[in-house]
């Protein structure tokens, strides 16, 4: 196809340029604004040098939120992957009501995160919600879901797992359904059991899908903020703040545009580097697993 150089631009450029044009202004704007003292009462593009960046280095809330995000995103994505893969395997073959389960398991990802978070807030409501009520019925005490940092993190992760496991489920189920049959027959002839078949055949074959699904989920999970916003407002104290939510507080609610610009850029660079490294590591890890 190398003979068609003249045409390749025709395909790529409309999309690339569109995205570039839409994105370039915000990016330049953010870079420029990060060197300004633009805030709510002084919305001007003045120049204050690197003051915002210096302030950011000393902003322990920001750095704490990044550490927290790594745990939250890593943890939820791992849980989503395990459950998503498990469910995909269970409804992959030979199960009654297969179509019903599949549709049901897809639905949460179709819902609006902010809206569902509001519903979850009522579910975790410590005195009026059903979770504590049901726990009470089986004789357990009230859990301070949204008022203590441990349970609040669990609540957040629950919401994230609920919302996005279907995404994993979809990608992994589609992956499973497109697997060739031959290796399974071979494994069956070899007399491999369920677990061995999974470990030696299914899992290695699913490695590419798995890497893609995990990476894309990590990207999305890194923006985690809607559910924080609605459920805990980052509380108690600042113990459930994520960078996304902290940026929102600084940049939009308090309109510290300049400062949030600096943080955004730092965050963006950090995320791109982290995710690239993670993606590379995952690819290698899965390849090794697949080869063994």
């Amino acid at each position: 196809m190398d003979g068609l150089r003249r045409h390749k631009g025709m395909f790529l450029l409309p999309g690339l340029l569109t995205l570039f044009l839409i994105i370039i202004f915000p990016l330049l704007f953010t870079i420029r604004v990060s060197f300004s003292g633009w805030n709510v009462s002084n919305p001007r593009m003045d120049f204050i040098g690197g003051a915002n960046y210096t302030a950011m280095l000393h902003d322990s809330r920001f750095w704490a939120s990044i550490t927290r995000l790594i745990l939250l995103a890593g943890g939820t994505v791992l849980i989503q992957y395990i459950i998503g893969f498990g469910m995909a395997l269970l409804v992959w073959r030979e199960v009654r009501g297969r179509r019903f389960w599949r549709v049901l398991f897809l639905v949460p990802m179709m819902t609006t995160p902010v809206v569902m978070a509001a519903i979850w807030q009522t579910i975790f409501h410590e005195s009026l919600g059903p979770v504590n009520d049901l726990l009470g019925m089986v004789g357990l005490t009230n859990v301070p879901w949204l008022t203590e940092s441990g349970p609040a993190l669990v609540a957040l992760m629950t919401v994230e797992v609920w919302q996005w496991t279907p995404f994993m489920f979809l990608l992994l189920l589609a992956g499973l359904l497109s697997l060739p049959r031959e290796p399974f027959m071979a494994a069956a002839i070899d007399g491999a059991g369920t677990w061995r078949t999974f470990r030696k055949v299914t899992f290695p074959l699913m490695a590419p899908v798995s890497v893609a699904a995990v990476v894309i989920r990590l990207i999305e999970a890194s923006k985690l903020s809607d559910s924080v916003y609605v459920l805990t407002s980052g509380g108690p104290g600042s113990s459930t703040e994520t960078p996304g939510y902290y940026l929102y507080i600084q940049g939009l609610r308090d309109q510290q545009t300049g400062y949030s610009g600096a943080m955004s850029l730092a965050y963006l660079v950090l995320m791109i580097v982290t995710l690239t490294v993670v993606a590379a590591l995952l690819t290698r890890a899965f390849k090794l697993k697949g080869a063994s």
Partner: protein, 533 residues
């Protein structure tokens, strides 16, 4: 869905920008009303019933004056569109929509309303104003934002200031609406924090005896925060309403990014507002040194941390709505915040109707004196005029007549009378005529409940020791910093003193960032109101 000719939009934007800078050009760009026949006879009976079953059957008489149904229905606004931003439904958002619908019906104009959650309202209003984008004609927002909004607001014209309804607004709420000597906000709501208690428990001999046993004191409505704490502790964890579920002592707004800062100021007011000391509560109005970490505020925060033990499950993450559900649903003995919870508890279908009582916020047995740096050992009471909802018209609006007519219609005597009775509307007494127990009795309130309510509210108007919100530019930043500090202390991450020291540091930074003189001149206006008495 309409697609606009963009050139026109740009042109309109340019015109708007011009009008914003050159006020002389303003009158030419303004759209005016035409006259038509009235749709109402003077003094007609007004009721919301036709808008649905969720409205009470109450009927009131249309009042006189230019804002009445009768007068407004003479105006013809057909072909004009008014754009309004308001708070989320129902608090203030629902009356905004309801009156918009009525206004459309009687003037033929079109009114578009968007409703926005509290946390988003500030930037959603301010961003277009700052960008010179004529997004909204009318804005409903918390009155304490006046410092940020004032530069973009159209002063209320003389003819609206002279309506009977406006003249009846209490002095405090006119003060709150005034900036640099001009009335720039249109009062539609009067707000203050006060105490709510369950009288069925307080008057129950069994509980009185129990309280006596526990504390050796008589059970009564607490008048100091120390008593409040004592009472709350005794009743927390007991099933005082006999429904088989545990009850708790106190419900407070504690969710960090909700309205926690107001709850905290309520608790601090009697400790920090010394009638003998003038010149500012939050700052020293001369030096602009933050006072937020002075012993009075620290004491209040210590109280609040102590109070945690008396909160219902989840009480440390209560937004205003949770507080209202908790008290209004009968879960807690006491609560303090805006009228909403009280009115909610007094709704016709409420389980605790007429078993609640309003009382002034608790006071203190001593008050800090920042000039002598010592506690003055004397009982102190301070009225905290917490921010309430207000409304304003954008200077850049080209529909100012329609906008002010809408607001004057919104707040006409008939509408206000009906709105006051609907708890979820969040419209609370702000005119002298609202302080009439007879009106509330007509709504089915018991006489003593109505009287205590009116006395509590009007008493605040008479209290000379008053605290107002920090109505300066950047108020959200200050309050956000304060809420962070309070939340950190409540979560046990920091001691109250350390937390407030941190807040003081942030406040100083914020002041520097915004400009000391700008903040000072704004804060002096607030201090003038407080010290006037």
């Amino acid at each position: 869905m309409r697609s606009r000719p963009y050139t026109r939009v740009v042109a309109v934007a340019a015109v708007a920008a011009l009008t914003a800078t050159a006020c002389t050009a303003q009158s030419e760009a303004q759209h005016k009303s035409k006259q038509k026949a009235a749709l109402f006879k003077p003094g007609s009976e007004i009721s919301y019933q036709k808008y649905g079953k969720s409205y009470p059957a109450t009927k009131v008489k249309d009042g006189p004056g230019p804002c009445s149904y009768e007068s407004i229905s003479r105006k013809d606004y057909s072909g004009q569109t008014l754009k309004i931003i308001s708070h989320a439904v129902p608090v203030i958002g629902e009356p905004t929509q309801l009156h918009a619908k009525q206004f459309e019906e009687i003037t033929g104009g079109k009114v578009e309303v968007v409703n926005v959650p509290f946390g988003e309202l500030h930037q959603k209003i301010l961003t277009p104003l700052q960008a010179g984008q004529p997004a909204y004609d009318v804005m409903f927002y918390p009155s304490l934002w006046i410092g940020d909004m004032a530069p973009y607001l159209a002063p209320v014209p003389e003819e609206y200031l002279n309506t009977p309804g406006m003249r009846d607004v209490t002095q405090s709420y006119m003060d709150v609406a005034t900036w640099d000597g001009k009335v720039v906000q249109y009062p539609v709501d009067g707000d203050r924090h006060y105490l709510k208690v369950r009288t069925d428990v307080l008057k129950d001999p069994k509980w009185q005896a129990e309280y006596k046993r526990a504390t050796g004191k008589d059970l009564k409505v607490p008048t100091t925060w120390a008593e409040y704490q004592e009472t709350a502790e005794v009743f927390s964890g007991k099933d005082f309403d006999g429904d088989g579920k545990k009850n708790y002592g106190s419900a407070e707004v504690t969710k960090r990014d909700d309205l926690t800062f107001s709850a905290f100021i309520s608790r601090a007011a009697p400790y920090v507002k010394n009638p003998k000391v003038k010149g500012g509560v939050f700052f020293d109005a001369e030096t602009m040194k933050p006072l937020i970490n002075t012993p009075g505020f620290v004491r209040a925060l210590e109280d609040m941390v102590k109070a945690k033990s008396t909160w219902a499950p989840g009480g440390a993450n209560f937004g205003l709505g949770d507080e209202i559900f908790s008290f209004g649903g009968g879960q807690t003995l006491m609560s303090y915040s805006w009228d909403d919870a009280f009115i909610q508890a007094q709704q016709p279908d409420s389980k605790i109707r007429n078993t609640v009582q309003a009382a002034p916020l608790p006071g203190s047995s001593e008050v800090y004196n920042r000039t002598t740096k010592a506690w003055d050992k004397k009982a102190n009471q301070a009225a905290y005029f917490t921010w309430g909802w207000t409304s304003a018209v954008a200077k850049a609006s080209s529909h100012q007549e329609m906008a002010f007519d809408y607001l004057c219609f919104f707040g006409n005597e008939a509408n206000t009378a009906l709105d006051l009775t609907i708890g979820r509307f969040g419209v609370n007494p702000y005119r002298m005529s609202h302080f009439d127990p007879a009106f509330w009795e007509k709504q089915g309130w018991d006489k003593d409940v109505a009287e205590a309510y009116v006395k509590t509210l009007s008493g605040m108007e008479e209290n000379p020791n008053r605290v107002f919100d920090l109505r300066v530019p950047g108020v959200n930043q200050y309050m956000s910093a304060l809420a962070n500090g309070v939340a950190a202390a409540l979560a046990g991450q920091e001691s109250p003193q350390r937390a407030l020291d941190g807040v003081a540091g942030e406040w100083a930074e914020i002041t520097d960032q915004i400009g000391k003189d700008k903040v000072r001149s704004a804060y002096r206006n607030v201090v003038a109101l407080e010290d006037k008495s």
